[in-house]
Amino acid sequence: MVYIVSWDEFVDRSVQLFKADPESTRYVFKYRHCDGKLVLKVTDNKECLKFKTDQAQEARKMEKLNNIFFTLMARGPDVDLSEVNGKEQMETQPVKKGRGRKQ
């Protein structure tokens, strides 16, 4: 079990792992409120990548990773991941238009 220190490395490697074997790769997360700890694990039953944290900022990053995995798993491993970031931008744009109209 390898605990990865860098968040970006964890994300890159886990997406690579999923794309290499989408049938058997799973993404698990364990949250313990009493200890205030979060552990993420991505494995394809041959290789295992883990990431642990107790920081709230990592939880926000984890939400983005969740979105990435949802998109990959529901739509397929060939999905262009820039769409995920593109959707977030789409959500922010109408807010700006609203501010403009009020003026």
Binding site: V28, Y31, H33, T53, Q55, E63
Partner: protein, 167 residues
């Protein structure tokens, strides 16, 4: 079928995997372990729910395990079909529809749901809201320490820069 013990065999005798031994032939210790497995399987039956009931159950799981315990959530791509069905579909030339299988457990019960490509955005949003609301025990960045460290750096920076100016 049992091999006679000799100096090369392990002292406790050879142990085969439980599923290979017919129930009647295994000894009392193995019978007890098989019985335990059966009981565990009965208790740990997974409940497949629709999206909204799953989210409600997930919320209650988080609330129950605030004092002690963990919540595990697993995401996996699955077509929810057996190998036979997959072979039939691929031989018929039809595409297999994959869904995202989500399981959540708090070690007492397991719930699951599957999300297709159409529902995943809506589910994603509600799921993120639940996580944000409940993962409150994590440490937040201590801004006071950050300010102190940046002030200390600034002081060090100004002390080094003033010397060359005097010269």
């Amino acid at each position: 079928m049992h091999r006679p013990p000799n100096k090369f065999s392990p002292p406790g005798g050879f142990r085969r995997a439980d599923h290979q031994i017919p129930y009647l032939l295994c000894d009392s210790r193995e019978k007890k372990s098989l019985q335990c497995l059966r009981i565990c399987k009965e208790y740990s039956s997974e409940v497949l729910l629709q999206l909204d009931p799953f989210l409600n159950e997930l919320t209650s799981m988080f609330e129950k395990s605030k004092e002690k315990g963990s919540v595990w959530v697993t995401l996996k791509r699955s077509s929810l079909k057996s190998k036979l069905q997959k072979r039939k579909l691929s031989s018929a030339g039809e595409s297999i529809e994959y869904r995202c299988l989500i399981r959540a457990t708090d070690a007492k019960k397991t719930i699951s749901t599957s999300v297709g490509a159409k529902d995943h955005q809506r589910f994603q949003a509600s799921y993120a809201t639940i996580l944000k609301a409940h993962m409150t025990a994590l440490k937040k960045r201590e801004r006071k320490d950050r300010k102190k460290s940046t002030e200390a750096e600034k002081k060090q920076g100004t002390s080094t820069t003033t010397k060359p100016k005097k010269l």
